[in-house]
Symmetry: C2
Subunit: 314 residues, 2 copies
């Protein structure tokens, strides 16, 4: 028998980024009713961020109707404690305590997790991963992140860093430095920035003709578009990036052998073309153990985070 829930109550899914905070208002049937974006005030060590959220929301709805809030943050989280968030100016934050003080309530259900993990959890619960038990999602945007769901549960990790797929070492030539301080990370050669960097590098290193040579303001999107039109050089760049992606993912897929791999982030907007270029490389690295693997494109776009944050709240 389904539990009767108060129909006039709400759950918030809040995705706190370094520039903006996305807030999703969900009813108790997990339906998105409204969505707002407010700026992230990272001044004074980000101490205004949570109170800004509460103040904004309190002007939008009767705050007494809020049953719970799930938060996503761009940093490691373990057991509802944010360990640090450089982009927000935060060190360790006990988000439940902090928020209860701001809201002057102790009956709010408060949960928090890493934002990339929550995007994966959102897709698993409401998007491309619905119905699967074990899901690996990789988010290929400006950087590369990811999230892992095992037995329908988000994996946090001992250091709150499970799913950090962008920092697998995949480039044996260690061409480019990574923000993390290492060289050769997946993020340096397969993120949107990485693909662009790879193209510029090879354009300098060779004389091969390509539309890319006369394309202003190169971007991963343009490289994909030009590759789709048959430009051989652009296709080689995409295939090199897909080879790095396949090599990194293969290690994770061999270890976890999940039901479903989800590709998300801006680069995944390249659509089925991305899967078509990636799949044969992945199968070559994986064969012969991982025969059965569903590969899907993310469905929730930039809303995945607020869906995942909401899904944390029972």
């Amino acid at each position: 028998m389904q539990e009767v829930k108060e129909v006039n109550h709400f759950v918030l899914g809040v995705d706190i980024g370094g520039t903006t905070v996305k807030i999703g208002l969900f009813d108790m049937n997990k339906q998105l009713k409204d969505k707002w974006v407010i700026p992230t005030d990272t001044s004074e060590k980000g101490q205004h961020i949570l109170s800004d959220i509460w103040q904004f929301v309190s002007h939008k709805i009767d705050p007494s109707t809020i049953h719970g809030i799930g938060f996503g943050v761009p940093g490691p989280v373990r057991q509802d404690i944010v360990l640090n968030c450089v982009n927000l100016g935060w060190g360790e934050v006990h988000i439940k305590n902090a928020f209860e003080a701001i809201a002057s309530r102790d009956d709010l259900v408060i949960k928090v997790a890493n934002d990339a993990s929550l995007a994966a959890f959102g897709e698993k619960t409401f998007g491309a991963g619905r119905g699967f038990s074990e899901v690996v999602m990789i988010t290929i945007g400006t950087g590369v992140g990811g999230g892992i769901i095992i037995n329908h549960t988000l994996l946090e990790g001992k250091n709150g860093s499970a799913g950090e797929l962008g920092h697998m070492i995949v480039d044996p030539k260690y061409l480019f430095p990574c923000n993390c301080g290492k060289h050769g990370c997946l993020e340096t050669v397969a993120s949107a920035n990485g693909i662009t960097r790879l193209a510029k590098y090879h354009l300098e290193q060779c004389d091969q003709a390509s539309v890319l040579r006369t394309t202003p303001h190169l971007s991963a999107k343009k490289i994909f578009d030009i590759a789709k039109e048959g430009d051989l050089f652009a296709l080689q760049i995409i295939d090199e990036a897909m080879d790095y992606l396949a090599k990194g993912l293969a290690s994770v897929l061999l270890a976890i052998d999940p039901d479903c791999l989800i590709l998300g982030g801006g680069v995944a907007m390249a659509g089925p073309f991305l899967i078509d270029r990636l799949r044969p490389k992945l199968m070559a690295y994986l064969s012969p153990f991982i025969r059965d693997l569903t590969i899907r494109l993310a469905e929730l776009g930039s809303d995945a985070g607020i869906y995942g944050a909401m899904a944390l709240i029972e």
Copy 2:
């Protein structure tokens, strides 16, 4: 309150290998009471293996005292169905049905899982991984295998292949072919055979002086022993193998961020020296996300499999 269990009953942990079957007799308090080894009869598609086990055990103890049997097999397993075991001559085997027919009983608790995964589960439950929730174990022997425990539960994988850590691609030069059909797998350069192969390859490629040049019947153990005595070349070989191991493990550890990494198998007999050579390389690949990671040597040796198999039985 602890459940009262019949004191005169037993659980068997059975580790079926391609050459021998190890059988552990455990009392209901999970104490090992006896241990036997019988040959594996792989003739006629391995159809005698299960009946041989039952017949042997029935001569050792009153078979009516057996409460349950956990089996480990050298192949992929999903939801208590063996998908295939080339080494045993098996295709798909519903082990519970098959064994109940042999034992003429339908009240036996029968479970089955992959042998490398069970070794990990044994270590997690009774050995080096006691008390941890998330454990990754890598077994470095003739080949390289592994097992993964998440939330105290053995991870099987969609294809029954979770933990297949030996086939991560780590050698960018793709020097040696792997049994799996690919090149560059971790197993080709970091297993006992792989380390020996690496030494022979470099001995041929260079003129560097080394005790290894005059050592008959090179083996991983000898290379480790000679490296420990300060032979520079041997140390370089070990460090190259540890570098591959670190690179592969780093990908898995970044994805899962476990509480504990266990090193098992024959190569792990090199002891603390192994961890001393591996840890700095691992930390270089992992830094800065995975700060807190316990690394331990396996404790149960070749008994890990029977302990893990037993631990499947509630």
